[in-house]
């Protein structure tokens, strides 16, 4: 009889334990950056500039600039920029007029990316070109961000030009 009681208690304990596998987490659970993909966010490329020639935008930017012995463009989790990707965004309207700052990172304005490893190590400025359709005439606004595979940086300064 005592064995039966023990068995029942054991079964009940298993049932309760499996139910408690999904104990609610507290509100601060995800405040821990180790639970955020990418950890801390990287910093964006600097000194962005743009030239437009015959519907080709030439974008140059710096990622290996050092200030006080510290890279300006880097991933705080690794201390380097070797794992970074640089994302390019383009718009025909001034992003300063965006109703929501999230639109700076909206896929609608995303053009493409290059990786730090696509360039020769330590050489600045880095240059990318963007071909624009010849049917387009008007203003062009371009900005960049860095991405460490998990988190995206704040956007760089916005450069603009005009396609006649």
């Amino acid at each position: 009889m005592s064995l039966n009681n023990k068995t029942i208690v054991l079964l009940l304990a298993i049932v309760l334990a499996t139910g408690c596998l999904h104990e609610p987490v507290d509100e601060e659970y995800f405040d821990d950056l180790s639970r955020v993909k990418g950890g801390q966010k990287p910093t964006p490329p600097v000194d962005l500039s743009m030239t437009i020639n015959n519907y080709i935008i030439t974008l140059s930017f710096y990622t290996d600039k050092i200030d006080n012995g510290q890279l300006l463009t880097y991933d705080p989790d690794t201390g380097s920029n070797e794992n970074l990707y640089y994302l390019v965004y383009i718009s025909a309207t001034d992003p300063a007029q965006f109703s929501d700052p999230k639109l700076y990172y909206d896929i609608k304005y995303y053009v493409g990316y290059v990786a730090e490893t696509d360039f020769e190590e330590g050489v600045d400025p880095k240059v990318v070109t963007i071909q624009i359709s010849s049917s387009y005439h008007g203003p062009v606004y371009v900005w960049m961000t860095s991405h460490d595979g998990g988190r995206e940086s704040d956007h760089s300064e916005v450069v603009n030009g005009d396609i006649p």
Binding site: V15, T18, G19, C20, L21, H22, E23, P24, V25, D26, E27, E28, Y29, F30, D31, L33, R35, V36, K37, G38, K41, P101, K102, Y104, Y105, G150, R151, E152, D154
Partner: protein, 186 residues
């Protein structure tokens, strides 16, 4: 053999047969009918109604289903609360850490999810819980229907019945003639 002799033989056999089953003429129930409401009330417990009606194989099946059903409800309620807490925590953290980006948070069940995806998982968990409630309702309704059917079946065989008996007597008159009579009541 004349017809009187034949009748006498039949009479004697009939009397001999019925004399062993002498009972008072009465109106009796062969057995008490089963209470439907009691059976349904017992059926709230796993297998209770079927044990009450004596259908033990049904009792075993429905007891298993009901216990599993209640456990599923308990499990999915906890799971729903759990996914809700993950969603609220991710939403709060995203707003606090970087409101301009959709951050990817590590899902304890594997992979990474944005706040929106945690919201979808929360909705799915709510659906699972709702389905478990519906499944329990379906199990209980089916069990009650089976119990109801079994009660009807049992009570059909327990309808009130009449029980009859035969009475016979011999008399002799002053001329030496013997008279035999039989009364059959039903």
């Amino acid at each position: 053999m004349n017809y009187r002799t034949v009748l006498l033989i039949i009479f004697v056999i009939l009397c001999a047969h019925t004399s062993f089953a002498q009972q008072p003429f009465t109106f009796v129930k062969t057995d008490e009918p089963v209470s439907l409401w009691k059976a349904l009330a017992w059926d709230v417990l796993p297998g209770g109604g079927h044990i009450y009606t004596g259908h033990y194989e049904y009792a075993a099946v429905f007891a298993g289903l009901k216990i599993s059903g209640v456990y599923a409800m308990y499990y999915y309620y906890n799971y729903w609360q759990y996914r809700g807490s993950l969603y609220r925590s991710a939403k709060k953290a995203n707003e606090a850490i970087d409101p301009e980006h959709d951050l990817l948070f590590k899902d304890p069940e594997g992979g990474y999810k944005t706040v929106k995806e945690f919201g979808y998982a929360y909705d799915r968990a709510a659906h699972y819980f709702t389905l478990s409630i519906l499944a329990n309702a379906a199990i209980y309704i089916t069990s009650w229907l089976c119990t109801w059917y079994h009660v009807q079946e049992i009570n059909e065989s327990r309808q009130p019945t009449y029980v009859g008996f035969n009475q016979f007597s011999f008399t002799t008159d002053e001329n030496g003639t013997m008279w035999a009579s039989c009364t059959m009541r039903w």
